[in-house]
């Protein structure tokens, strides 16, 4: 009986509607969370898994030793590797190293498995393809990305090192 009366009062006085209005009214004056995108971007962590890249040693030698661990671990079968001894010094190197970014799920397993920290995921998340075929990242493209972001990658790696 009492609950019924209470319900009746609530209905007549529209308390719940006014509560709702108060809430939205409060948010009207609250701080805004919008990011002005081209000028500002959302912060990313050192572990952010974005665009893939292949790294080099400081002397310019590519790190990858064509062990094919990344190819084996990749759950999406996105990596294709072919290897041969390099003609100049007989070192084991890849002749073909391709990642299909449409297949890649950015899981980061390749980075985990790599014994020489060659394949890494950078923080870069703004990229696009305008034509079919561009999503196949060749060795040259990946190395170029690595060169571009090397300082950032190195910094992230050192920051994350104590936890590995």
């Amino acid at each position: 009986m009492l609950s019924k009366l209470k319900f009746l009062f609530k209905t007549i006085l529209l308390t719940e509607l006014f509560q709702g209005l108060r809430l939205t009214g409060k948010y009207f004056f609250s701080a805004k969370t919008t990011l002005q995108f081209p000028e500002e971007t959302t912060p990313t962590s050192p572990r952010f898994r974005g665009l893939l890249a292949l790294r080099r040693y400081p002397n310019g030698e590519e790190r990858c030793i064509a062990c094919k661990l990344c190819e084996a671990v990749c759950p999406a079968l996105a990596i294709t590797i072919e290897a041969k001894p390099r003609e100049s010094d007989g070192a084991r190197r890849t002749t073909l190293y391709e990642i299909d970014l449409f297949k890649c799920i950015y899981c980061g397993f390749c980075e985990e498995s790599c014994p020489v920290d060659s394949i890494v995921l950078t923080r870069e998340k703004h990229y696009h393809f305008t034509e079919r075929g561009q999503q196949i990242m060749t060795k040259e493209k990946l190395l170029a990305i690595g060169d571009k972001y090397e300082s950032e990658i190195a910094a992230d790696k050192t920051e994350d090192a104590p936890y590995r």
Binding site: L21, L23, G25, Y27, S30, K32, T33
Partner: protein, 341 residues
């Protein structure tokens, strides 16, 4: 002959003087709606075009004008084109009897209240015809819902108008406002409070705004009656909706909140202090409060279910108005001070 021509030109000039600021107001109402709803959702709304995004409405207008007007091949071409005009025209015509200040009115007719009631009901024809002419099931459903809703709420709205008519004893909008002279406590929203409330709900329902926007119902019928319209056709419906919003807000300010009268009337000192403020400003301020409330409600309330709308209209609002009209009749007969003495 010459005299008549001059009067005609003066009337035309007056119409332009009302219509141009009104359309500008509509344009900026869309901007403010996006801003306010954005703020209530912790966003900041449009801010790219011009400073603070102030040129956004013009960018929108340009975009809509340059878009292709698509006429569905199975539609009724003639009705399809005429429907947006039918929706917009009534909401602009009604402004002819709205007094902006003492004596500042295009047509000071004695049946102003009836005229507004009649004209504001007409706009539903635009929606109905649009829904019918589109030859699309969603458009038809939206139009049907809109028509049923408008007809149900018009009754309660009419009764609310009857209350105003009884309280003021006149159908002339100027007289209605002048009857409320004498400060805030003489305004009709106090003796007519339930009618004030009912009129506000009906006004929201009449303009097909949230929470009564089942006629659009994005989640179930796409966009309702204007689903087939593109470019300027859509823009006209949009314009009509916002023109109606401004219209109902102005009407409620005129009927219940003393129109252009200053709220500080008859208060010593403060009343004199504000006596230089033109009446138009007060009307504008009162209208803006209600427009803000409309947008605030849209940002807050979820959409009513269709049967709930019908129940609210027929079983709650109409009985309330009838009861209050009887109470009001007694109050007027007994010359209840301070309103009816």
């Amino acid at each position: 002959m010459m005299n008549e021509l001059i009067t005609l030109i003066i009337i035309l000039l007056k119409i332009v003087l009302i219509a141009i600021p009104l359309i500008l107001f509509i344009a900026y109402l869309t901007y403010f709606e996006r801003k306010i709803i954005g703020y209530m959702q912790s966003r900041i709304g449009p801010n790219r075009v011009g400073i603070y995004g102030l040129a956004q409405p013009f960018a929108d207008i340009l975009k809509l004008i340059s878009k292709e007007i698509i006429i569905p091949s199975t539609s009724n071409r003639y009705l399809f084109i005429i429907a947006p005009l039918l929706a917009l025209a009534p909401s602009l015509v009604a402004w002819s009897v709205i007094p902006f200040s003492q004596g500042k009115v295009l047509a000071n007719i004695n049946a102003g209240l009836l005229f507004i009631f009649a004209i504001s009901s007409l706009s539903v024809y635009g929606i109905l015809i649009a829904g019918w002419a589109s030859n699309s099931k969603y458009a038809l459903l939206g139009a049907m819902r809109s028509a049923a809703q408008t007809i149900s709420y018009e009754i309660a709205m009419g009764f609310a108008f009857v209350g105003v008519l009884m309280a003021s004893g006149s159908m002339n909008l100027q007289d209605i406002v002048l009857k409320q002279q004498g400060g805030v406590f003489h305004w009709f929203f106090l003796p007519l409070f339930p009618l004030f409330f009912v009129y506000w709900i009906c006004a929201v329902a009449e303009t097909n705004r949230a929470p009564f926007d089942v006629a659009e119902g994005e989640s179930e019928i796409v966009a309702g009656f204007h689903v087939e319209y593109s470019g300027m056709g859509f823009a006209l419906f949009f314009l009509a909706e916002y023109a109606n919003m401004i219209l109902v807000s102005t009407i409620i300010a005129l009927f219940f909140l003393g129109g252009w009268l200053s709220p500080f009337e008859n208060i010593p000192y403060i009343g004199v202090l504000f006596s230089w403020v033109p009446g138009f400003f007060w009307l504008f301020a009162k209208t803006s409060i209600f427009l803000f409330l409309l947008i605030w409600m849209r940002a807050t309330f979820p959409r009513y279910r269709y049967d709930q709308i019908m129940r609210l209209g027929w079983k709650i609002l109409i009985p309330i108005t009838i009861v209050w009209i009887i109470v009001l009749g007694l109050a007027v007969q007994l010359k209840l001070p301070p309103w009816f003495s």
